[in-house]
Subunit: 243 residues, 6 copies
């Protein structure tokens, strides 16, 4: 039995709150159950040096966890003097996923930085981050359009993500922390609205997984992500009507 009597294919209650803080061009609080991530999008003119003069924009991401977002306190990366390997891996994943959603040529010489900061962690922070950052990015792009800095919307499709895994021998969707830490296999899937895949990262924590198990996990992920896309579209439509 899963915690809270969830069905194997159910995602946790998910909420996406736009305009959560005031300064950023996009600011979204996303929650997957007890996981809470604040995703802000910052628009800045110009691009990093390696892109100068190539007539395209850039999208990048940074990820952090508040020291006591977790069950026991983690040392603050700023005071340890560097970001750990897990942090770098996650923020590279977030940035890469969101770049796949945008036509960078159409964006123009602008950099959008997605900051995903975990206020409270209960599993699935990276997939929640991608899901929330996508909405914050859309808000930032609309902000650019309202300012007249962009004519065409360079977003190709929404993207969303969920974690799936095999726990106690059964494939489950959207693992929370107690499940994640006991999973035999853990997989993060990022998809585009048209049902194709942007990232698939499956890891055997215990036993290797079979081809058949992989297929079951992908099916669960597809189902979970479809319900997330619905929520993303709903919270974004509210805005559009208002505009």
């Amino acid at each position: 039995m899963r915690p809270n009597d969830r069905a194997l294919s159910d995602v946790r209650p998910i909420s996406i709150t736009r305009h959560y803080t005031r300064h950023a061009e996009g600011s979204v609080l996303v929650t997957f159950g007890d996981t809470q991530v604040l995703c802000t999008a910052t628009v800045e003119d110009g691009v990093p040096r390696f892109l100068k003069g190539k007539g395209q924009g850039w999208i990048t991401a940074e990820y952090g966890m508040l020291p006591r977002s977790t069950g026991s306190r983690m040392a603050r990366e700023a005071s340890r003097g560097k970001q750990g390997g897990r942090t770098l891996e996650i923020q590279r994943l977030i940035g890469r996923s969101l770049r796949a959603a945008v036509d960078l040529k159409a964006l123009g010489e602008v950099t959008i930085t997605l900051d995903c900061d975990v206020l409270q962690a209960d599993g699935g922070t990276r997939t929640a981050s991608i899901t929330g950052a996508c909405v914050a990015l859309m808000d930032a792009i609309w902000w650019l359009q309202q300012k007249g800095k962009l004519k065409v919307n360079p977003m190709k499709y929404l993207i969303a993500a969920v974690s799936v895994g095999i726990v106690d021998g059964e494939p489950r969707c959207d693992l929370e922390y107690v499940e994640d830490s006991n999973a035999q296999t853990d997989m993060n899937v990022v998809m585009s609205e048209d049902g194709r895949m942007i990232e698939v990262q499956g890891t055997a924590e215990g036993e290797p997984f079979s081809h058949d198990e992989l297929l079951k996990l992908l099916a669960l992920a597809k189902g979970g992500i479809d319900s997330i896309f619905e929520l993303q579209r709903q919270v974004l439509n509210e805005n559009h009507k208002g505009q």
Copy 2:
């Protein structure tokens, strides 16, 4: 005229929400107007090496700002590889202030870490941090008492803080960002419940300030802090009744 028609001696609307996140022994969201700081208190057994065997506890603090808590994005200190001077100065102030409120001998060999993370900044983040961290600290101490790890409450008195300053030639209480960035003099005051001072840090940003101006600023601070103590006691009493 101050923003929002505030009187010179008024603090902004202040709120203190306890149990804001789930994992920490104390977790408080404090807001002074648009300034929002999440203050968590973490209890850990043992003390830093320099205190080993001295039969006393330790209280320390760390401070951080989310990259887009501010009007323009600040580089993340974790990715820059070190905490800046302002950050270190503020977290030293927070830790020192809270140690002044506690009988460290009575605390026993326990370390309490206060993490103050600014979600949104609009001036006065260090004084809001001290104010909120005091409540989170009280919750952590009560947690220790409920666990039977502490018999006597080692808290000597509540502490609270406010910023005051001279803007456009007039002394004002609880500066928000537009005032703070134009202040001729800026002062942070931390007081104990009995009306004495724990820290006074006054800085002439423009013109030096006279003895008379100093006295006016202290009086404003005293008034503001008194109203904050009232709120602290109120939110803490709610709990006490429930216990």
Copy 3:
């Protein structure tokens, strides 16, 4: 047409040379075409602090590239003062993959460190590293057995890895650099000898990939890895006969 007229399902010429350098308990030079990686296994008594007293061993990995292993010189990470995100991501992958191949309880309180240093790069350095490190690890385990420090061989199965991807619309096995840098989709697959998966990391560099494309890539990976297992067994048997 692929470079060197390779068929889409062909891996490049692969060689695995054991005992390549003299000091390490396992030392393997692995080449996939022009990609050359030196993999050494170092055995040390004891385990990291977080495992002390748990009665198990540890396997970890570090990865590096010589500055001029690549077409243009990369800054040396030691002189830049930190390992980049790509490096950390790769060494975490190598370590995790090899831990999946070993019964850490049976290993006892011993740490084996796999150092994978790229002497020359032409695509697929992380999968070559895993493939070579597995052989170096086996040699280190045999060394422990010869020294009488291990009675049972804790290796559960060999592991091997290959990169696959979609280039010019066609799925290909074992991408070399000119292919990798033009791939629409790039996927690294790590498998165990029994044909199950230990890691699958697929990334859409350009277009998202469909479920059908994923299946084709996995099939290519399976074929490539099977031929690598054959080579691993062959070079390891040479030794065994000699012992």
Copy 4:
């Protein structure tokens, strides 16, 4: 009884030696009793990036202690790889105080760096640094004038500083180390020649301090600083006559 039979309101014997080393545009050895600080002023063309094109100059400070300036050896910050929080706090204070003494617009696009290095420490190193750096700064400005790079002297007034505190219940001026380490309250005061305040930093190390105690400490500081201004003017006049 204070060490050396000092009266409560007495500063220690103070000396200010100009032109102490040869290379710097200003070079001052300042001693407050056994506290010895070498303060050099370096003039460089240009300003930091954040001030480019604003038609003003910049004054900044760095502070350091020789490893064995103290009773027991302190680790060298250069070999530990970073400046500690106390160091950063002090050098921010020194820089801020000296900027308050200068009309930065009148200085022009020039940066003056004050390096304050403690050769021997016996309490009050930050206030001695400010006092000595002010004289070194004046020498650097005169050097600019002699070189014809400045027409008007941009120095608005001299500044000086002293520490005061409550030890054994009595307010005392210019604490030396044995007093400082036992003070209930410790306060650093920086003033301008006209008797106004530039910085007031009071800290309750033990008991909070009352409003009345604050006033007594400020009065002591004023008296001490007045005598320091006299000495500063005296050593600077020697020069002026010579010019």
Copy 5:
């Protein structure tokens, strides 16, 4: 008796393999007995900032050891976050020695970086590095000439290096590790082809050394280096004939 029955004046078997890896403009594997160093030369346009506009080129070097090039594993400098003092000292020596061999004015505004990475260590890695880097540098210069970027060969003479030392009271040439770690005196000598000295670094590890001992060590070094020059010329001539 020396290991392998070497005479006191003998260098170990030395080999120099050019074009060892494919990407670099010069790539040499040099071995002195069991010491193996990969030396690559990278040509880049432009010079470091401090040389801009001075109409000359620059030659610099970096040195590293693979973690398990040694008998027990050394921590990777990239993961420790800095290069150690020994590494910096050696790479400064290599760069300085090679700059002495080249007319930097004749080189033009080009930077050549010599990376010397120790694959296996058995004493004398710094002198092997200099010896191999000289050949890699020559290849890089010939590459520049073939590309038409250099008309005149700016190399003034070949340079080579050897370590000598006093072990068990007797002066010996080209110490291997077991000798080096027991030497009373250790000396590294870098010479130019015409028999003059570029660097002499003699260190008394145990007893100080006399003037007479110094002379004997220099004579041994001269003999060893002469035989190395012969090998360098031989491997370089092979190429020249082919061109």
Copy 6:
């Protein structure tokens, strides 16, 4: 003609002032002309980890330059976050030289740290450091003897150092900065009182140097160092008489 009409074999006026600062067990200000270095010796119980239980002591050194000890300001290493290669090279040389003067077994499990901080630089700071540190070390050893912590004096002989070089084609002793920066060859020599060598580091900055030139430089160094030993003995005798 040399600056100040010095003869080619003359050292500059040298002074050695003991007990220069108050806290350290040995504290010496050494000056060679305008070069001024403060050398302190700190005695601490215990030894570094790699020597634990070996029944011997340790001597180590650290070197630093005040930012404006030089003609133009150098960035402070503490704020740059690391010690540069030159600094590390020099402090390794100082420590190694002083260890050669002491019987570490006879010292017992004690660590003596020599801090050499350059207050003013005019060439020859490393040789001045060694010369001054030797006297500070002797004072620290006498302090250990007076405290009854050492019975036998473990100092084997005094050591001293001087720089020599070839400037304008002529060998000169004790180069000052204007000579050093124009030297064709630069050599640092450290000797023991009995006339043997502890370190010889000769570098061809321009032309390589011949065997004959090397001999001339060594003779100059011997003469200079002999006069320094005389001064060391003189300042140390003053003390001895007093004890």
